[in-house]
Amino acid sequence: MHRFANPGRFQRLAARLLPWLKGLTALAFLAGLYLALLASPPDYQQGETVRIMYVHVPAAWMALFAYLLLGLASASALVWRHPLADVAAAALSPVGAAFTFIALVTGALWGKPMWGTYWVWDARLTSFLLLFFLYLGHMALLGAFDDRSRGQRSAAVLALVGLINLPIIKFSVDWWNTLHQPASVARFDGPSIDPSMLWPLFTMAAAFHLYLLAAVMERMRTQLLAARLRTQRQARFETWQGEPGA
């Protein structure tokens, strides 16, 4: 495991993987958009608006998945002081926030024609809005302290506390009566979505997964470069201080 913990090794791996990842992501999005917009049927109740599902649902899945990863990264940063964990956490929250935002906006645009409203304060929608604020809070805390490691530690604690929101989001539709309907794909008795709609959904979900991986890798690279920049600045500052006449 610690073979990949080495930041230098990660940089080399990322530099080699990223071009392939970018290409795969673009291909998956093209295939997903084709299936979602052209090669899938309308729904028997919702008509064409069902096509919003193909962005709304993968975005919501990725928002939850990215938060789970953020929680894991924060735990390993706090417990094992893993060198890449803080870097991963800082890279995950902006991408996770973007997915959450997309899920909220596409949900509103789907809710208006179907439910009759852009927004309701039911348990599912409210807990999902909380997820968005958790991401924003994480980003804000990271930059809130002069001492970087203090910011990282408090952001990690916030991320871990926020983990409790994940099961609440997932099960809100079962525990309470909400306007949002229960799960369609992750069900014990199999998905209640016709295969002709399940395939476009899975293709889009694959594209979103690849995007998450590529975007987070890109940002982790930047974070590591920034760390190198900081140590070099520090080193220069110290030699400048040590120089005679300075």
């Binding site: 064409e48 709304h56 902006p94 645009l109 220069r236």
Partner: protein
């Protein structure tokens, strides 16, 4: 009505479906571009700093 118009109309729901896809595309593109810009900015600063220390080393100044 031709087939492109029918497609764009989306059974009367185009006003909801296209903005949904548009928002997703814009946000994903923005987050990606932001990430690339950040990396380029850091790389530029790193190059500037490393160039300086190289010229300084030439004068027998800094060992890094």
């Amino acid at each position: 009505m031709n087939s492109v118009e029918t497609f764009l109309a989306m059974g009367g729901y185009g006003a909801y479906i296209w903005p949904a896809y548009g928002v997703a595309l814009v946000v994903l593109a923005a987050i990606w571009i932001d990430g690339v810009w950040r990396r380029r900015e850091i790389e530029r600063q790193l190059r500037a700093l490393e160039g300086q220390s190289r010229s300084a080393r030439g004068r027998g100044g800094i060992e890094s």
